[in-house]
Amino acid sequence: MAEITKLIHKYLRHDKKFPHVWCPGCGIGIMLGALIRAIDRTGYTKDEIVMVSGIGCTGRLPVYVDFNTLHTTHGRALTFATGIKLAKPSLKVIVIMGDGDAVAIGGNHFIHAARRNIDLTAVILNNSVYGMTGGQYSPTTPYGMKSTTTPYSNVEQAFKISELAVTAGAVFVGRGTVYHARLLDNLMEKAFLKVGFSVVEVIAHCHTQYGRLNRMGSAVEMMQWQRDHAVTVEKANQMKEEELKDKFRIGVLVDRELPVYQDEYNKIRQWSKGVDKK
């Protein structure tokens, strides 16, 4: 049996919920592959993992995987995940969100989960559009692009999700693309092993909605766009600011140590029982 077939049999609810809802050529499948390969390598058992999501194409992911899975309300996945992690810290909680889910309706929860440094991994698929509802612009739709609700042009500036996460206090932030599949595996593995709030932003394409409206071609052509516009962090450090216009950094953006919420709250438990604050 091929390696991937073994993983599919082990981790997917292949006999229950397939076929899936995603379009042929969608990037979410590549992200799902990276997820289960990284989980397999990190050695967590299926019972230890809770996969939490919000709403949208990406939010449908947990239904297909054989973990403890929770499909929450739009934008609120991180709040449910916070409750699970604090109530049962032995669980490994992975939160799967889309760009609208994570930084539009769930933007407040995103920055506060990062600020608190709750021990969670947030995996955010950024395809710059609301795909499931038919192609409306999201907070990561670049300036000047089209969507069904920016039929003339988008006049808003886009959020940079990874940079936002760094500023808000995440201890690990990595950005990859669905084109750079091996980098993505690597980033996910690092994020899962990191204690504290870790983020993996996955730049992906929605050729069905965003690509069609902006005449960006097929899924393959959109992945070629990812290849041509991604610059590794190491390479970007050698480049001038104007050379980096139209480009985005991929790789590990931050990997640092900050106090983790659960450890800090355990101190509170001790102090509340009269143990000295030394």
Binding site: K17, D47, P62, N68, L70, T73, G83, N108, H109, R269
Partner: protein, 380 residues
């Protein structure tokens, strides 16, 4: 036989809610500051870490209830507390807890609205929001204390009902009762009945997480205990997976109602006070039930036969008990601190048996016994 040990305490309503929650086994609280519910947060931030529980202040009330639901799914009894404006924000995840059948308790210390309204004057104007605030057809349980002792008892009941029926339970307390201090007697710990969710006993491969049982309440596996299953806010089949099949949707939604409706006798708590020979019966709840009781005593001294039906369970509406006083009394008065949210229900079930009068006060002050007595005289 064990000797009953009494523990007398002078407590505020909000403090009694905290004591009741801890007694019921609550070990997780997430909330956002809002008057007049803040004391619940403050006190639990002191007490929960001492018992290895968790207190967290979230970024808003939406997050608070989301976090509470997450903690409950991981197997810890959880609650939040808020007032009207925060309760409005919680409606989204309240619906999630209902459809995913996650036990949790929400305290709403009612203040005047709409919007920011009256911080902080009492009101009873969230009665209908508790019933229909979240979208979609759904069952709900809401309990309403009128004394500090009832704050304690009904909070325990709220946890018991939420665990037993896998449904969120709302404690609708008004600002008067939340902030009032009374001496209460906390009985010997062993005397309190504590109910915990029923867990599956079958092997994981046989577990059907949303099975349609005669009881209507499926066994609930906590995350991380070997039963890997899917929880979703989408309408789902008995295995928890999303469905759009009419033959799966209909029995699912009906079961949600059935699990509550076939247990009315257990859920509906109230008190008949001198209603047997009453010509006039007052139907009241919360702080107004206190004024009503005084008015009943005063009226009887003046020779008017008045009784009181106090509702401790607001939802599901205590139809059978209300119908009883509609039959035995000629006149019903429903005093409440809103424009008639429960009187509307009383009128709905009245089949011409009695005349139903309202007494509505919406100025941020409590309805006094004198005002009720005056209304009694007016209609008698």
């Amino acid at each position: 036989m064990r000797k009953k040990v009494h523990k007398e305490k002078l407590l505020q309503g909000n403090e009694a809610i905290v004591e009741g929650a801890l007694r019921a086994g609550c070990r997780f609280f997430a909330g956002y500051p809002i008057t007049p519910a803040t004391e619940i947060s403050e006190l639990l931030s002191v007490k929960l870490p001492k018992v290895d529980g968790t207190f967290i202040q979230m970024e808003d009330e939406i997050a608070s209830l989301g976090t509470v639901i997450g903690a409950s799914l991981a197997g810890v009894k959880s609650m939040t507390a808020t007032s009207g404006p925060g309760f409005s924000l919680m409606q989204e995840n309240l619906g999630f807890a209902i459809i995913a059948e996650v036990p949790c308790v929400i305290v709403n210390a009612m203040r005047g609205g709409p919007s920011t309204g009256l911080p902080t004057s009492p009101s009873q104007s969230d009665v209908m929001q508790a019933r229909w605030g979240t979208h979609g057809d759904h069952p709900i349980i809401a309990l309403c204390p009128s004394t500090v002792k009832e704050c304690y008892d009904l909070t325990i009941k709220a946890f018991n009902f939420s665990e037993r029926f896998r449904n969120p339970v709302i404690v609708l307390v008004d600002e008067v009762v939340a902030h009032m201090r009374e001496k209460i007697d906390l009985f010997d710990e062993d005397e309190v009945e504590i109910i915990n969710r029923v867990k599956p006993t079958v092997p994981p491969e046989w577990y059907i997480p949303y099975e349609d049982t005669p009881r209507g309440v499926p066994a609930m596996a906590n995350f991380g205990e070997g039963y890997r299953y899917h929880v979703t806010g989408l309408t789902h089949d008995i295995r928890g997976f999303p469905t759009s099949r009419p033959d799966e949707i209909d029995p699912f939604i009906r079961r949600l109602f059935r699990k509550i409706s076939q247990n009315y006798s257990e859920i509906q708590i109230g008190e008949f006070f001198q209603t047997d020979d009453a010509d006039i019966t007052i139907i009241a709840y919360g702080c107004v039930a206190r004024s009503a009781k005084r008015a009943v005593i005063d009226a009887r001294e003046r020779g008017i036969k008045v009784g009181l039906l106090k509702l401790n369970t607001i939802w599901p509406f205590m139809r059978a008990q209300v119908e009883k006083v509609l039959r035995t009394s000629k006149t019903i008065i429903v005093p409440e601190m809103n424009m008639g949210q429960i009187s509307r229900e009383v009128k709905r079930v009245n089949k011409g048996d009695a005349k139903v009068f309202t007494l509505n006060k919406i100025d941020g002050t409590i309805i006094t016994p004198q005002e009720i007595l005056a209304r009694i005289k007016e209609v008698s």
